[in-house]
């Protein structure tokens, strides 16, 4: 069934040959990296002055980690390893946490990235004749354009709708007999609830499959959506630092996505020590981009916690599979789709004199909606004995939090000393949400 492979030769490459290819490409990227001041300094310090200093694939561990902050510090062009004239595309993160991170691509970079998406699309069973409705937002975000070019390369009919406008999305799905979607799990859930409102029945549609990404989701969520839509849903993993979507893509087995290992070196390490962990153990996923020359990123810490499946997949691909994301090593919370840093909550609380220094953030979920509870201690000296004072205080905290993080929090006031006190690093976030 060669129809299920875009590039059977590479996708089923024997492990030793795959690793030889990885080493070869790693040296190319080292050569690119040595052209940037940041990597030159770091690699020199690690004893790597020429690509040949990487003698085996194990030598990848000599390379220091790269973190997101390195990208921010290098804004806008500090990590650019080619002449700007060679750059044909720029993508960027939204920069909600401060300085955006920027990714550059040469035409070759885009071609190699597009190849990976073509592999994923074909692995899902899609082919020329399928109508692909891309419901991810286009623009600086990599999610839209990444799949777009991959689908075109395979020969699908691409409808670049972008995100939003549910009524139009459904109308297009119906009128053009869309078979394949690229969408976030939350939007897919949302749309189902609104089909009746726009007079669309599932039987009016021709959906066969959806590529779901950009948001972590669980197996039960996939199952539920597959039931609701009577279609196959494929999980795809990516991050803009590693080009965007398509770093890992599920095949028809739907048993977690294959990391395209000719394009990436994936390592799982203990987030605390940086030491490698064996396949099957959960740790931080570290990626080295082997296919991008414009902006090399070596041993990039994703902060995503995951594990690598030790067993081969039934599909015959030799590229190992990455588990679903089990969590994040950093503390960013995604509450009802909004990115929230505990520091933002702390900032609000600490600006209110009646609030003591200790606080806790509790997250729970009900009917698919997240609920944020902020527990604070009342500052003893400002207690007047009035119930109305306390109600006003709760209202103030709630209002200021909403202004800062756009979320309606439930506020709980406690006596001073009632909340846990931490020695060393505080663990103020308790996340009891059911994972989607």
């Amino acid at each position: 069934m060669d129809s299920m492979f875009w590039n059977r030769q590479v996708e089923t490459l024997e492990r030793t040959a795959l690793e030889t290819l990885q080493l070869e490409r790693l040296r190319l990227r080292i050569a690119n990296a040595l052209r940037t001041p940041l990597y030159q300094k770091r690699l020199f310090r690690a004893g790597i002055t020429v690509p040949e200093d990487i003698r085996s694939l194990e030598d990848v561990r000599k390379i220091p980690f790269t973190v997101k902050d390195d990208l921010r510090q290098s804004y806008p062009k500090g990590l650019l390893a080619v002449d700007m004239k060679q750059v044909v595309r720029v993508h960027s993160s939204s920069g909600t946490t401060g300085i955006p991170t920027v990714i550059f691509y040469t035409q070759g970079d885009l071609d190699r990235w597009t190849e990976l998406l073509a592999r994923g699309i074909v692995a899902s069973g899609a082919t020329a004749g399928d109508v692909f409705q891309n419901m991810m937002s286009y623009g600086l975000f990599t999610g839209g354009l990444g799949l777009h070019y991959g689908a075109e390369r395979v020969g699908l009919t691409v409808i670049p709708v972008g995100g939003g406008n549910t009524q139009r999305q459904l109308q297009i799905m119906k009128d053009f007999q869309t078979t394949s979607l690229h969408i976030t799990p939350s939007y897919l859930l949302h749309i189902h609830g609104r089909m009746a409102e726009f007079g669309i029945n599932l039987s009016d549609l021709s959906l066969k499959r959806a590529y779901m990404g950009a948001e972590p989701h669980s197996e039960p969520t996939r199952q539920k959506l597959q039931e609701l839509y009577k279609m196959d849903i494929f999980n795809c993993y990516g991050l803009s630092e590693m080009n965007g979507p398509g770093v890992a893509f599920e095949c028809h087995c739907k048993a977690d996505p294959h990391v395209w290992e000719d394009a990436y070196i994936v390592e799982i390490v203990d987030p605390a020590t940086g030491e490698p962990l064996p396949d099957g153990e959960i740790g931080e996923a570290i990626f080295t981009n082997l296919i991008r020359e414009a902006l090399p990123l070596l041993r990039y810490r994703t902060r995503d916690l995951a594990f690598i499946h030790p067993e081969p997949c039934a599909c015959g691909r030799t590229h190992r599979r990455l588990s679903r994301i089990q969590g994040r090593t950093d503390d960013m919370l995604i509450i009802n789709g909004v990115n929230v840093f505990p520091s933002q909550i702390e900032e609000v609380l600490m600006s209110i004199p009646e609030v003591g220094n200790n606080y806790m953030i509790h997250l729970t979920s009900r009917n698919g909606l997240d609920r944020l509870t902020v527990q604070v201690e009342l500052y003893q000296k400002l207690f007047t004995g009035d119930l109305s004072q306390i109600d006003t205080l709760k209202g103030t905290i709630k209002d200021r939090l909403r202004a800062s993080i756009t979320i309606n929090a439930h506020i709980e006031l406690h006596e001073p000393g009632a909340l846990p006190v931490f020695e060393g690093k505080a663990k103020r976030v308790v996340d009891e949400r059911e994972r989607l």
Binding site: Q380, G385, E415
Partner: protein
């Protein structure tokens, strides 16, 4: 004559009220009147005690969030319509009661009630002028 009321912020936690009362017991403080205003997650315990200063000391020692306010303790005839008469005086004089509660025990033929007014001084004068007996701090201590 105004008397001291102590308000304690209480989180809604099992055994917390008992802890507070034990602190007072250990400090030799006797509770004369009390009430609890409560919401879903916390409450405010209000009380009149025989030795307010000692109570506040005990609370400070145990880091209890407490505050003192002034209230007026009023003797109300323990007969049908007794409270209504006192309240009529207040209404006629445009005095607002924020909240009120009763003493634990009766010390005379009259019932003893604690009133919190937004203007305790005016309330005190008005009640006295209308022949209502207002109990002083000294009286509470020696009850």
């Amino acid at each position: 004559m105004k008397i001291k009321q102590i308000s304690v912020f209480l989180e809604n936690r099992k055994g917390r009220l008992s802890e507070i009362c034990s602190m007072l017991g250990a400090a030799g403080v006797n509770i004369r009147a009390l009430t609890i205003a409560e919401t879903e997650t916390f409450g405010v315990l209000r009380m009149v005690v025989d030795k307010p200063a000692a109570a506040m000391d005990a609370f400070r020692t145990h880091s209890v969030t407490a505050n003192q306010t002034e209230v007026v303790a009023v003797e109300v005839p323990d007969t049908p319509g007794g409270l209504a008469k006192v309240l009529d005086i207040l209404t006629d004089n445009d005095l607002n009661v924020e909240y009120m509660y009763g003493f634990v025990e009766k010390f005379t033929e009259n019932a003893l009630l604690v009133f919190r007014f937004d203007d305790p001084e005016k309330a005190h004068q008005t009640l006295k002028a209308n022949g209502v007996n207002v109990v002083g701090e000294h009286d509470i201590e020696s009850l």
